[in-house]
Symmetry: C2
DNA sequence: CTAGATGCAAACGTTTTGCAAATCT
DNA sequence: AGATTTGCAAAACGTTTGCATCTAG
């Protein structure tokens, strides 16, 4: 359990993510906040997004090739980044069997987690 | 098919990767070259590693949370980055079923590829 | 009171880019 | 000759950090 205070900034950041249904990067969240809360700093946004993800309140999606992004939908699902417009989309591939990392161990490694991400072309960019 | 010339730099960069059995980042490759080939620039290393990967001669491993790395072993396998020392290791998890991206299509997306990467603690860093 | 959180700006690590000069075919 | 590639330095990009100040509990 992580000991945290309740700060207004943290709550605003959380609510902002919960209200964004695309997959905002930390910077997207920051830009979104800026209008109504010009005093919240970028560093605070980065710090709190990471903390909120650690608390399980949001999902931290680690993307190779571009900014990580965050998601109010904390259930396990996958993402695709469009190689053209760089946007991130949900992609439900029911055929992906859950990866079995037996007791989170492999030889003498301790596996803390893994990430899967797809890239390709989104429908709009195909046109 | 990509039209390319044969440059000495490109060949040196390829040979360097083929002779590194850890998973060098672009910068690792650059540093390795520097001794014998001080005139090859960092930009050339980055450009050629990407090109060689496109040609299928080496593997470009895209890692979230840190530098991408490259691998002379072009067969499909997975990687784990140690959260402590940041090194990248091969990790053969035979339990991973091959992801089935049916005809590389999902709705109106074209899926060009995907990446899976693990993170955790390596044996040495556990001590 | 005090550990935790903030805002700011600067630093960081990785990668890309603009451009003139060089080089391969 | 002409398109590609190089080297250089600077910029871009996403993120983290040091530090003084502030604030929740």
């Amino acid at each position: 359990m992580i000991i945290t205070r309740n700060t207004v900034q943290r709550e605003i950041i959380l609510q902002t993510v919960l209200n964004m249904d695309n997959h905002p990067s930390a910077d997207d969240v920051y830009e979104r906040l800026r209008n109504d809360n010009p005093s919240i700093s970028r560093a605070t946004v980065y710090r709190n997004l990471e903390l909120l993800a650690k608390q399980g309140k949001i999902l931290h999606i680690r993307m190779p090739n571009g900014a990580d992004c965050f998601d109010f939908n904390t259930s396990e699902h996958y993402h695709l980044r469009c190689d053209i417009c760089r946007r991130v989309f949900d992609i439900d591939l029911p055929k992906i069997p859950k990866i079995n990392i037996e007791q989170k161990k492999y030889k003498d490694f301790t596996i803390e987690g893994y990430s899967i991400s797809f890239h390709g072309i989104c429908p709009e960019c195909k046109k």
